[in-house]
């Protein structure tokens, strides 16, 4: 029986239990996506652009302190609250499940960031400047944004497009795990898994059904395409709580 192949829906699974907070994903994302340099001054202005960030929370009191890391990136919500509020349609949801940002349409009202509960959208407050030595490092596949434009994680859409095109030229289907965004590629502990959640055989689809799975801020009903796997706490009492 020939089954009609379902439209791809890109999703990511983040296993919080594996995250060690090394920030390799943050650096890889910055390199891949031409993110402006976050100097100390910009960081102090709280305007550092990190399409994926590692949120660190401290639990407990000294000497029983634990650091908890959770990578937060654009959740590419099916029911994205950031999409309807843009006055110029600079952000919309495409058929592959990605929340897309159109840079040359953006007017910079920053409305989308206000209605983004995960605070994963970033605004270019300044004109990005790269010193001469770093200009050759810029990725030619990715737009360099000017000031006044919102930007955020795209699931490395340039890699998705490139790999899809290559597979089509070679006349084959995309293999699961063939393409990975920069953060997924860089992660040393396999915290991040990326793939087509509509493909039941993909790793992402299987992991998403894990009993530890949850989504961030579920009560808002945003239906994110990023699924988190709860940290296994060896010392915690055995309870059947899930988020």
């Amino acid at each position: 029986m020939v089954q009609e192949k379902k439209q791809q829906k890109w999703a990511m699974v983040v296993d919080v239990d594996r995250c060690i907070g090394c920030q390799a994903c943050v650096v890889a994302c910055q390199a891949e996506n031409n993110i402006p340099l976050n100097t100390e001054e910009i960081f102090n202005q709280k305007r550092a652009i990190e399409w994926i960030r590692i949120e660190r929370y401290w639990e407990g009191e000294y000497p029983n302190v634990k650091a908890r890391f959770i990578p937060v990136l654009c959740q590419h919500c099916e029911n994205a609250p950031c999409e309807p509020v843009c006055p110029v349609y600079a952000t919309y949801h495409n058929s592959e499940g990605l929340n897309v940002q159109v840079y040359n349409r953006c007017v910079g009202t920053r409305f989308c960031q206000n209605n983004d509960p995960y605070a994963v959208r970033f605004f270019n407050f300044w004109e990005p400047v790269w010193p001469a030595t770093l200009q050759n490092q810029l990725n030619p596949d990715v737009t360099v944004r000017s000031r006044g434009i919102m930007e955020k994680c795209t699931f490395c859409v340039q890699r998705i497009r490139r790999t899809t095109r290559t597979a089509k030229e070679q006349g084959r289907e995309l293999k699961d795990g063939e393409l990975a965004p920069a953060c997924v590629q860089a992660c040393p502990t396999s915290t991040l898994t990326f793939g087509d959640i509509n493909d039941p055989k993909s790793k992402v689809a299987k992991l998403a059904k894990d009993k530890r799975h949850y989504r961030l801020l579920e009560k808002l009903g945003t239906e994110p395409n990023v699924i988190y796997l709860k940290k296994v706490d060896a010392h915690a009492k055995a309870t059947s709580e899930t988020h």
Binding site: N79, P81, P84, K219, L220, G221
Partner: protein, 462 residues
């Protein structure tokens, strides 16, 4: 009543009211109408009393059935809210218009204040309802678990409201009771003597009366808005998990204001048609109230839309469930009826000046609102009372539509009859037209020529 020296300009001209134009004549006329007791009145009295008895029986049966099944009490809660919204809010029309110091309110002032007596009946419906409320653990409550809440505080609020309304009625009717004390006979004379509280009509007494009515009126207003907020939160909003609606108490109160105006308009119409006071409720009164009706109907839509729009746009699951429960799911029929009758019909009618400047059309709009509010209270309270699990963050499942049973019908018939009965009886003790206010009006108004026409000149003593 003949004024041949005045040219009749048009039917709607302000001068063309038909009631007497000297204070003495007005007093005599109102008194004679008040003292008239027809056999039709007595027939209505006995029928309504019988039906009220049936209603009391229904309530007793419902109480015997116990307080655990909250869903069964849903319709009774809706009836309580309905009487609060219509009859208990009605005195506000007189109070608010007195604060604004306009003159067309004078004939309908007492008509509006007498509705306070229906509050006594509403207390009968209120106390059993308190017993049906679930404990506050695990659910949101406006009292945050204070001891004695909500029973003590809600009871105090509503008892004070009823007492305040009765106090207003007592004080505004003092001068008229003094007149009755002199002019009436028999049992009424005795009642009037007691209710007039020794009124002699001195300058100081008048001053105190006006001041006291001002303060009591403000108190009634505050208490009424407060009771609307308490009832809407305790008996509806906090029974539905996930229903966080900051405008709902205000919507409930506004609906009360709209229904108050509608109640007055409809009562005025009845007083003209069967009450025997045709000349006193003229075009002026209907026209002015119809403008208020237009404003309140628009506001009804505005306040409803505030809830709907914020919930619908945000798409949060807990809020979408609430929309399903109270608007688009099992109670969609009463909701759409209420939307049509509380907004579409009155707004559509009162938009046109021709319709506003008549007697028939504001009455139709008012009747529409009274029926619409009926369905609106049903969709809000029966739905809230039918939620099984009141704890948690959001509604887990939407309960099915709960239909009324025979006991509910008995209670509705009985208490509507009882309300009308109490009003009728009160209206034969206290004159339904406020004699002293009408006389005051006639003293403050003078007709003068202005250029080539005659106009009424109105004194503003403040």
């Amino acid at each position: 009543m003949q004024r041949p020296h005045l040219r009749r300009t048009s039917r709607e001209h302000e001068l063309s009211f038909a009631f007497p134009d000297t204070p003495a004549e007005a007093g005599k006329d109102i008194l004679s109408r008040h003292l008239r007791l027809t056999s039709r009145f007595w027939k209505a009295f006995w029928v309504l009393l019988l039906l009220f008895g049936v209603g009391l029986l229904g309530l007793a049966l419902r109480i015997l059935g116990g307080f655990d099944d909250r869903a069964a009490w849903g319709y009774e809660a809706a009836l309580f809210a309905y009487l609060l919204t219509t009859a208990q809010s009605a005195p506000l029309v007189s109070i608010a218009m007195r604060i604004v110091r306009n003159h067309w309110r004078r004939p309908l002032a007492r008509l509006s204040e007498v509705f306070a007596v229906v509050g006594i009946l509403n207390l009968l419906l209120f106390f059993p309802l308190l017993m049906t409320l679930p404990p506050q653990e695990g659910r949101k409550s406006m009292w945050f678990g204070w001891p004695g809440s909500p029973h003590i505080y809600d009871s105090l609020a509503i008892i004070f409201l009823v007492l305040c309304g009765l106090a207003i009625l007592l004080f505004t009717s003092m001068p008229d009771m003094a007149v009755l004390r002199e002019q009436a006979s028999g049992r009424l004379k005795g009642i009037a003597r007691r209710l007039s509280l020794g009124w002699v009509g001195s300058g100081r007494e008048w001053k105190k009366l006006n001041l006291g009515l001002g303060y009591l009126g403000a108190l009634y207003f505050i208490l009424l808005i407060g009771v609307h907020a308490l009832v809407s939160m305790d008996f509806a909003m906090s029974l539905v998990p996930g229903w966080i609606d900051s405008i709902f108490p205000a919507f409930h109160a506004l609906s009360g204001l709209q229904s108050a105006v509608a109640t007055i308009i409809f009562s005025m119409f009845l007083m003209r048609a069967i009450g025997g006071y045709r000349e006193y409720f003229g075009l002026d009164q209907f026209w002015a109230l119809s403008k208020l009706l237009l404003a309140f109907s628009l506001l009804w839509f505005y306040f409803w839309w505030s809830t709907f729009w914020v919930y619908w746009y945000g798409r949060a699951p807990s809020e979408v469930s609430v929309l399903k429960l109270i608007m688009f799911g099992p109670y969609a029929v009463p909701f759409f009826l209420s939307f049509g009758l509380n907004f579409v019909v009155p707004f559509g009618l009162m938009l046109w000046n021709v319709a506003r400047r008549s007697i028939k059309w504001p009455t139709i709009a008012a009747a529409s609102i009274l029926v619409g509010t009926f369905f609106d209270r049903i969709r809000l309270y029966v739905s809230a009372f039918s939620v099984e699990d009141v704890t948690g963050h959001a509604l887990e499942s939407i309960p099915a539509t709960h239909f009324p049973d025979l006991i509910d019908v008995l209670i509705y018939v009985g208490f509507f009859s009882g309300s009308i009965l109490m009003y009728m009886v009160a209206s034969k003790v206290v004159p339904i037209i406020s004699m002293w206010e009408v006389k005051e009006w006639l003293r403050l108004r003078v007709v003068r020529t202005f250029l080539r026409t005659e106009v009424a000149v109105v004194a503003k003593p403040e």
